[in-house]
């Protein structure tokens, strides 16, 4: 299970995003000013319309920046009090009821119970909050207009901007006040719901194949059992993890000589893995660098495949590898793979693969582990800081650097060859041809020997990228006729875990961001729409936010079958959408022109709404990945980026409106 995290550092992201934002906002308001001038020009004449727009712009700038916090707070408190007096707390009661009865409709046999419960709890919190916010915001200002209570507010020294901010702040406060207890209840529910332990009712029995081992199973709790293996020689007991957790197990020998096993509460069930992703590259079957692997016919081209028992390999480059990257004095890589079989293979085991580390500069390479694939599961590879080849059963290998690395390819990986005969890994090029500094050594230091202080490579555009403290990780499939499939995030370096509670909180911050955005849109729409229309408009904006990627895709011209006009022509002519349109140049240009206008409009619409799904970080919490601080900061900046122009827009809408009408 992996999560595609492609979040840049806030420092990398911010300058470009801020510039894009400034340009977009400027264009948006210039467009608004132009439209304002156009419409008022019809009634007032161009000169007066120009003056009016200038005056409005000046007043807007003055009013949106000169708000009094005291006034905003008074209005926010009013909004808050109104919602409380209208018994909004009932939403929290509904939530508690949902949580209380959740156990009745959540699948008890799920192999990933933690994920199921966290998903459920975040889903219900988000849906309840979103529905509540849509309705509350839609009823606030329109009700003020309908009851004319706004008359007694705007006739006080209150700016329109303060009314907008007061409303939004009130709803945000209210949402926060609801989310805090919901979060606490949720956390307690998630943790408590999976609390259990097991007994070992039937004791252990002698292993049939290995007399040094005894085996047994635990009692069935929450629809699962664990297998227990007891190593009599070393007096070590091992518990097989299942359902995303294990237990600490202790053995006590009773007076009767019987062994008694005590299992702790689940451990490792709720985690927040801090992971580092690398850059992926591929070697094709001849060991030549390729931009992607083999396509095995999946419609979804997320993962690329490498053929088994060839020179094909996945190569990940991880940078900034320092002692701080170690967990328990080892680098821990986790790898999720998909397997494509062209034949059944050996029935008693999974597909065999190999995991290597490599110094991208010296070419020194080490086979860390030969492993069996885990389809749908995650393989874990530990690379200790001090590597003893014989003790760790690792094989030293070498690979030659290609001095003539071409641009557009991975310079350090071009023509890397691993000698192979009959599918077995064999000896490697002689030491004197390699710059590995003593390949005969039995002991290696991870950082000195496998981490290159600096490594350069070329990106797709031929630009050289220099990285610091880089290590390469290679994965190969070793069985002929079988394929491994992986994408960039399938391999990650796992660092020390973060706190699950803190991660849970950050997940709730994601819901909070969504709630803030919906409050903003709701209040802005309610400045010029009636309640039912505001509900609909906010609902559609929310929907658009969740399907942002789809909307963005509609705004591009790469849709098969073309835009609506081209598609209409195809429908009319009954042309297949995969073939070129059989039209003369004029018709073609006309259709493309209309479609371009449509695409531009959709792209514009798409930019008016943020991608709500990017705020939704519950999947990270559910799947046990840490939500990086960068993600939270970028989301916060995105919220602010939308909130600021929306606030100004809301001000203009309300200012333009005759309160009495």
């Amino acid at each position: 299970m992996v999560i595609e995290e492609n979040v840049p550092s806030i420092f990398q992201w911010f300058p470009k995003a801020a510039l894009d934002w400034a340009i977009l906002v400027l264009v948006f308001f210039l467009l608004l000013g132009f439209l304002g001038m156009l419409f008022s020009g019809l009634r007032l004449g161009p000169a007066n319309a120009f003056k009016l727009v200038l005056k409005t712009a000046g007043q807007t700038l003055r009013d949106v920046f000169s708000v009094s916090f005291k006034t905003v707070w008074a209005l926010a408190s009013l909004t808050f009090k109104e919602a409380i007096r209208r018994k909004i707390v009932i939403v929290f009661i509904i939530f508690v009821l949902i949580v209380l009865f959740a156990g009745m409709f959540l699948d008890p046999t799920s192999p990933h119970p933690a994920q199921l419960y966290v998903d459920f709890i975040f889903g219900s919190t988000a849906y309840l909050t979103i529905i509540l916010m849509i309705l509350l915001t839609a009823f606030s200002l329109p009700a003020d207009f309908k009851n004319k209570t706004i008359h007694t507010v705007v006739t006080k020294p209150v700016l329109i901007s303060e009314i907008i901010l007061g409303r939004v702040l009130g709803f945000v406060l209210l949402g926060t006040m609801l989310l805090v207890p919901m979060g606490l209840v949720s956390y307690g529910f998630v943790i408590r719901s999976q609390a259990h332990t097991h007994t070992v009712p039937d004791g252990l029995t002698q292993d049939k194949t290995n007399p040094a081992l005894e085996r047994g199973v635990t009692s069935n709790e929450r629809e699962h059992r664990h297998e227990i293996v007891f190593d009599k020689e070393n007096q070590v007991v091992h518990l097989t993890p299942t359902h995303d957790h294990t237990h600490e197990i202790s053995v006590r020998e009773g007076k009767d000589g019987e062994r008694h096993f005590t299992l702790s509460q689940p451990i490792d069930m709720y985690k927040a893995r801090v992971v580092q992703y690398g850059e992926i590259g591929y070697l094709d079957q001849k060991g030549i660098v390729s931009s992607k692997g083999v396509n095995v016919g999946d419609e979804w081209e997320y993962r690329s495949f490498i053929a088994g028992n060839t020179d094909a390999a996945f190569i990940w480059q991880f940078e900034n590898i320092t002692p701080a990257s170690l967990v328990d004095d080892a680098l821990q890589f986790e790898f999720t793979q998909e397997v494509f079989r062209t034949h059944k293979g050996v029935i008693s085991r999974q597909i065999i693969g190999a995991f290597y580390i490599r110094n991208p500069e010296t070419g020194l390479m080490l086979e860390v582990e030969i492993f069996q694939s885990k389809e749908g599961g995650t393989s874990v590879f530990r690379v200790p800081r001090t590597i003893n080849i014989s003790a760790d059963k690792m094989n030293l290998k070498s690979s030659q650097r290609n001095p003539n690395g071409t641009s557009g390819s991975r310079a350090s990986a071009v023509s890397v060859q691993i000698a192979r005969q009959g599918g077995e890994l064999q000896s490697y090029p002689p030491e004197d041809k390699l710059n590995i500094g003593g390949a005969n050594r039995a002991e290696f230091d991870l950082f000195k020997d496998f981490v290159a202080p600096q490594s350069s490579m070329f990106d797709e555009k031929g630009r050289e990228i220099v990285r610091q403290n880089v290590i390469e990780v290679w994965v190969k499939c070793l069985e002929r006729g079988q394929y491994f499939g992986a994408a960039k995030p399938d391999m990650y370096l796992r660092r020390a875990d973060a706190s699950f509670a803190w991660n849970f909180f950050k997940g709730y911050v994601g819901i909070w961001f969504q709630m803030v955005m919906i409050s903003m849109y709701g209040v802005i729409f309610s400045t010029f729409l009636s309640t039912p229309v505001t509900v609909l408009a906010t609902f559609f904006v929310t929907l658009g936010g969740y399907f942002h990627k789809f909307v963005a895709a509609m705004g591009t011209q790469n849709i098969e079958g073309g835009g609506p006009f081209e598609a209409a022509i195809r429908l009319f002519r009954q042309d297949n959408m995969t073939i070129d349109l059989d039209m003369n140049a004029g018709e073609n240009i006309l259709a493309k022109m209309f479609d371009t206008v449509f695409h531009t409009f959709i792209r514009f619409l798409g930019n008016l709404v943020p991608a709500f799904d990017s705020f939704d970080t519950s999947a990270y919490v559910a799947q046990g990945f840490n939500i990086s601080f960068n993600t939270v900061l970028i989301n916060l900046c995105t919220v602010l980026g939308y909130a600021i122009p929306l606030y100004v827009l809301g001000y203009i809408c309300l200012k333009m409106r005759e309160i009495e009408q």
Binding site: R43, Q59, S68, K70, T71, W73, A74, S77, L78, K81, E82, R85, R86, N147, K148, T149, I150, H151, T152, V153, V154, T155, K156, P157, V158, L159, E658, I659, E660, Q661
Partner: protein
């Protein structure tokens, strides 16, 4: 000469439909000046433009032409509102608040310090007679009580100009009298009051000057006493006279070429009668009041 605090210049309001077509010409070129310290009444039948004028002054409507100024500033300058109190036609207040919270909320909008706010709220609730009900939510109030809270909120900032839209609407006769007394009190404090009403008696009782609007046009403006003086009629009020004396007076009038149009007892107003009965009932609970006979008839 007193300072002009409220002023309209060529103030015009035309209501249009969605397509910009003219629907109603609600106010036509109104020029008006109201001086500091006077009570000015806008009179007119329903739809004459009274409330439109007030809303234009307060910025609740945008003028189609002309200007509406208070303290020389138009509605876009909200700082002028610090010196204005407004009681709407119906008290548009938040019904989920109680009276104390209502005044506190509006006080906050004026940035009045908390201690002063509390003190002023208590004083105003005392003045409007709602101290006993200050903890009850407004949704439990009668219309008259809400109206009183409305007045209190209009005065929370101790304004220099008070604008009252139908101030006695919804009030019982006692409330009406109280309201009129309060308006006169405001004048004593040097405040300027602009009120509009179609209850002529109320306007007559309290206003220094009035303007009469009809179909959006100002038809008459001036001091109440001079406007109401009927110049070709003389009125003499005396204590009750015997019939002989009346006949003698009739002769004197005829001798000087005059004509006696009516002779009889002075009639009180229904409002006075009602207030007398209520007062008497308060003083003698359980006894039938004689308000109607107590005037000597």
């Amino acid at each position: 000469m007193a300072e002009v605090v409220v002023e309209t210049r060529n103030l015009t309001k035309i209501y249009r439909d969605f397509w910009g077509r003219r629907k109603v010409h609600a106010l036509k070129s109104l020029d008006l000046e109201i001086n500091q310290g006077e009570i000015f009444g806008l009179l007119g039948p329903n739809g004459s433009g009274k409330t439109t004028t007030i809303k234009l002054l307060l910025g609740l409507l945008f003028p189609s032409e002309g200007e509406a100024l208070i303290f020389g500033k138009n509605a876009s300058d909200v700082r002028r509102n610090e010196r204005i109190g407004y009681l709407p036609e119906e008290s548009y207040l938040y019904k989920f608040l109680n009276a104390e919270e209502t005044l506190d909320f509006y006080g906050k909008l004026f940035h009045i310090p908390a201690a002063v706010r509390r003190q002023r709220a208590n004083d105003l609730l005392e003045i409007v007679g709602l101290t006993y009900a200050k903890k009850r939510q407004l949704k439990e109030y009668s219309k008259g009580m809400v109206r009183r809270v409305g007045l209190a909120q209009a005065l929370i900032n101790d304004p220099d100009v008070v604008i009252l839209d139908e101030p006695t609407s919804g009030l019982d006769p006692i409330g009406t009298r109280d309201m009129k007394d309060m308006i006169l009190d405001l004048k004593k404090q040097g405040k300027t009051v602009l009120m509009c009403s179609h209850l002529l008696a109320d306007v007559q009782d309290v206003c220094d000057r009035i303007g009469i609007l009809f179909q959006g046009e100002l038809k008459e403006i001036g001091r109440v006493d001079s406007l109401l003086t009927v110049k070709d009629t003389t009125e003499i009020q005396t204590s009750t006279l015997p019939d002989a004396a009346i006949e003698e007076i009739r002769g004197v009038v005829q001798k000087y070429g005059g004509e006696v149009k009516s002779v009889g007892n002075t009639r009180t107003t229904l409002e006075d009668l009602f207030l007398r009965i209520v007062e008497e009932s308060k003083q003698h609970p359980g006894r039938r009041a004689h308000g109607g006979e107590s005037n000597g008839n």
